[in-house]
Symmetry: C2
Subunit: 307 residues, 2 copies
């Protein structure tokens, strides 16, 4: 099988005016570096799961993207972190929601998959597992970067802090994620996020929900989503792509395009996804102005794009 | 449209030996009372959503079932409550996970749907919304009944308290739920649970996850699941029934049977579900020894069963 990998660093309005040429360049450099590194790992025989997790760890560590270090802040001024992993051979999965101490939430999600009989651990229960298994933890201040503190202040000042009636910050659907297909035809997906700016503590979006923001099955595809989490949750975006391939006989590209451009608007949803099937085909549709993304297939040069 | 309603009080091994005739009778009486009450409400024009929520409130209040008062206890000796609601017209949904104070978790899930832009709130964030909106709260001791305390002690004593390697209590897949189709052809689903006996704090099962334990869409069906939560999460059981109807053209009965008897075993899953379509057809499949259930359709006498 030809290997393939795709990563994303979030989708959204991404105004050209608010993205300085310098920041744009830094984002593209990061995406390219991480894409190349993932492709090299696949070339050397790494598993799809390890590559997807490795790419998401790199994106979490990069303060440019909304996950891990540099995640957006909830209304109480701290980051609450969601992450998930799924591998397509056994359809095993692990996820954490509203965690506050794992340095790399995606690694804790992986630990939930490997070391517990559970799929999803939330809040203090997630942090407690990190403690128990000695998954690296940090003080919550590690996640906070100055730009996010200012962003939270702007959100509060503009009244986008109260959640009773649709006050989502529509500019910012930051998430990071990766999908990979390795040489054995196994696929995997990993996703991580700080969620929405100024979100209510305890709010869980689609990222850590298997079938919504993250899904993998060798019979169909692996998917990592990014967008306004609530419509993704109601629709079950990631598993919809798989279901259309399996039950309607669609190709990966057709299924992914249909879900993002036809189904998601039906629940007022905005966002995108990266997906790969077990033949190494890729799809990276989005219905927003842009999506930070990078991709590579065996024998082809890697590429990156925003708009 | 003919109205219809189905409720469940959990699926599982349900050994006849461990269910005394007296307890069996009490369960059947409760299921019958709640089914009749739901059917009467539909007869009088109540909406599918109100009827599904009302039935789940009654099941939560009944200490015989694992939800609300009488929920199973997590390893720390308190109940952590999960619940979800979804209505099929707008596909709006709300859910709470690992909540500890709402007297009726399903009503808090409904409040998430109606009063916030979110779908899922976890842990303290869920309890904080109850406080803010004055949804009735109770001291966590309200949920604890003596039989559950004893059950937790037995689980601890038998080594089923540590979660590292599959120590699930396989006898007990308690959940409660309801689906309804009203005279307008609208469908809705509601589900609530205390989860697994002796679970790790913060563990979230399928119940509060839209598409896994709870789903509703007028174009297809409403589903409420019950079973071992992790396979339900990985497969996305509730939305699979809908997807098979929509994309493979199956009837409700065929789709529901296929998911429970063919797909769920593929991820080592045990449990069942209740489902209704917009024509008032019902399906109540389970692959366990039994499932506590009740059902009624317009013009037909209500019925209840365990095995």
């Amino acid at each position: 099988m030809p290997f393939a990998v795709a990563i994303h660093g979030g989708a959204g309005l991404i105004r050209r005016s608010s993205l300085t040429p310098e920041r744009q360049e830094r984002c593209l450099v990061s995406l390219r570096r991480i894409t190349i590194s993932a492709a090299e790992a696949l070339e050397q025989g790494a598993s799809a799961l390890d590559v997807a997790i490795g790419a998401v760890v790199a994106l979490e560590d990069d303060p440019l993207f909304n996950a891990g270090h540099g995640a957006v802040l909830a209304s109480h001024g701290e980051a609450e972190l969601d992450a998930a992993v799924m591998e397509g051979t056994h359809r095993a999965a692990g996820a954490v929601a509203a965690a506050r101490t794992p340095r790399n939430p995606v690694q804790l999600a992986h630990a939930v998959m490997v070391h517990t009989p559970h799929v999803l651990l939330a809040a203090e229960g997630a942090d407690a597992l990190a403690e128990e298994l000695r998954i690296p933890q940090v003080d919550p201040s590690y996640f906070v970067v100055e730009a996010r503190r200012e962003q939270l202040q702007r959100a509060r000042a503009s009244g986008r802090f109260h959640l009773d009636h649709g006050g989502a910050d529509k500019d910012v659907y930051g998430t990071v994620g990766a999908v990979a297909c390795d040489a054995t035809g196994a696929v995997a997906a990993a996703t991580s996020t700080g969620g929405m700016v100024n979100k209510r503590p305890g709010r869980v979006g689609d990222t850590p929900v298997i079938g919504a923001g993250t899904f993998a099955w060798n019979d169909t595809c692996a998917v990592s989503g990014t967008g306004h989490g609530e419509p993704f949750l109601r629709l079950g975006v990631a598993s919809r792509v798989s279901a259309r391939m399996e039950l309607a006989g669609e190709s990966l590209a057709t299924a992914a395009e249909h879900v993002i451009h036809r189904e998601l608007p039906g629940v007022e949803g905005q966002g995108g996804l990266v997906a790969v099937d077990a033949q190494g085909n890729l799809a990276l549709p989005f219905n927003t102005a842009g999506m930070f993304r990078g991709w590579a297939r065996q024998g082809q040069p890697p590429d990156v794009a925003i708009w």
